[in-house]
């Protein structure tokens, strides 16, 4: 599996994401600078966290119009797995690849702490390696992770099982329905505020995030085997 980690000016979790794929999964991974215009060579696309373009105007608003984004949209339509973490999630929302928008955290503070999440839907290409309703520990680090959508969108998300992760026991940022991560209707674009790439190694004290990447790899191997056999 060949994975692209997209890098914008101001991305700062790109190395963590690269490390999670390269050393956590042991798979091929490359950085792709935002001025590139194609992602045809890649099987999976990661949009990492950070502060693309300094969060000017709104988080993700300017990155959404960078040269690489039409290729991200094309990959999304082609059904490739696309994972946006933190600022990556904000970029996916601004790009309209996922519904809703981000607001400032309810308490107005930047929160950086390991947070329990419930796996609400383990029947996705990103979560097959988790148990249904399993509680996992994943770090969050954001000031603008208060997910918002209107009532109708929330109803659709819940009816289609598009809410993949919820905050467990305590909602840190005030997000609608305790949402921490959502997937698109086709099931190949996942956006989440918590950082699975920061929880892939015992030396980091936590490996709960690794199974997310293992799920993507397992899905790719299964679909790849189906094509070649």
């Amino acid at each position: 599996m060949k994975t692209a980690v997209i890098v914008f000016p101001g991305s700062n979790c790109d190395s963590d994401m690269f490390y999670a794929i390269k050393d956590g999964l042991g798979e091929d991974v490359s950085y792709v600078w935002h001025t590139e215009t194609t992602l045809d060579d890649y099987d999976a696309i990661m949009i990492p966290g950070g502060f693309s373009y300094g969060d000017y105007l709104r988080s993700g608003a300017i990155a959404r119009f960078s040269n690489i984004m039409p290729a991200v949209v094309k990959a999304a339509k082609a059904g490739k797995p696309i994972l946006g973490v933190c600022n990556g999630f904000q970029v996916l929302l601004e790009a309209g690849l996922l519904p809703g928008a981000m607001l400032r955290n309810k308490e107005l503070k930047f929160i950086c702490q390991t947070t329990p999440l419930v796996v609400e839907n383990n029947n996705t290409i990103f979560t097959k390696e988790y148990e249904d309703n399993e509680v996992i520990q994943v770090p969050i680090a954001h000031g603008e992770g208060n997910y918002f959508c209107d009532g109708r969108t929330l109803q659709q998300l819940e009816e289609n099982n598009q809410v993949v992760f919820k905050y467990h026991s305590k909602n840190p940022n005030g997000s609608v329905a305790d949402i921490a991560g959502i997937i698109n209707e086709q099931g190949n674009v996942l956006g989440m505020m918590p950082h699975p790439e920061r929880a892939v190694d015992d030396i980091l004290g936590n490996k709960d995030g690794l199974r997310l990447f293992q799920s993507i790899l397992k899905h790719w191997r299964e679909s790849h085997a189906a094509v070649t056999s």
């Binding site: 105007l57 709104r58 608003a61 300017i62 119009f65 929302l93 601004e94 519904p99 809703g100 928008a101 607001l103 400032r104 955290n105 309810k106 308490e107 107005l108 208060n146 918002f148 959508c149 209107d150 005030g174």
Partner: protein, 83 residues
């Protein structure tokens, strides 16, 4: 040359924690009659005249300047000062 003033505000249905914090501070300063505070953005554009400036500004607002999931926008067009 035209000068365009764009006002971006949070939709009524969206809570504004920043506005709440400022309201609490105003209350602490004894301005007890402050009922609500909503914080928005003000953007000034200077642009060359085009035939359909309204369409252009609406596009800019909908695509980039505002996020219509959470924000409303309005704008005023003024004659720009010749440089």
């Amino acid at each position: 040359m035209k000068k365009v003033k764009v006002y971006i505000t949070l939709r009524e249905s969206v809570l504004d924690p920043q506005g709440q914090a400022v309201k609490d501070s105003l209350h602490n300063m004894e301005y007890k009659n402050v009922q609500d505070v909503r914080i928005g953005k003000f953007i000034e554009l200077e642009l060359d005249d085009t035939a359909d400036i309204d369409t252009q500004i609406k596009e800019m607002c909908e695509k980039l300047l505002a996020n219509t999931v959470i924000e409303n926008y309005r704008y005023e067009i003024e004659e720009g000062v010749m440089q």
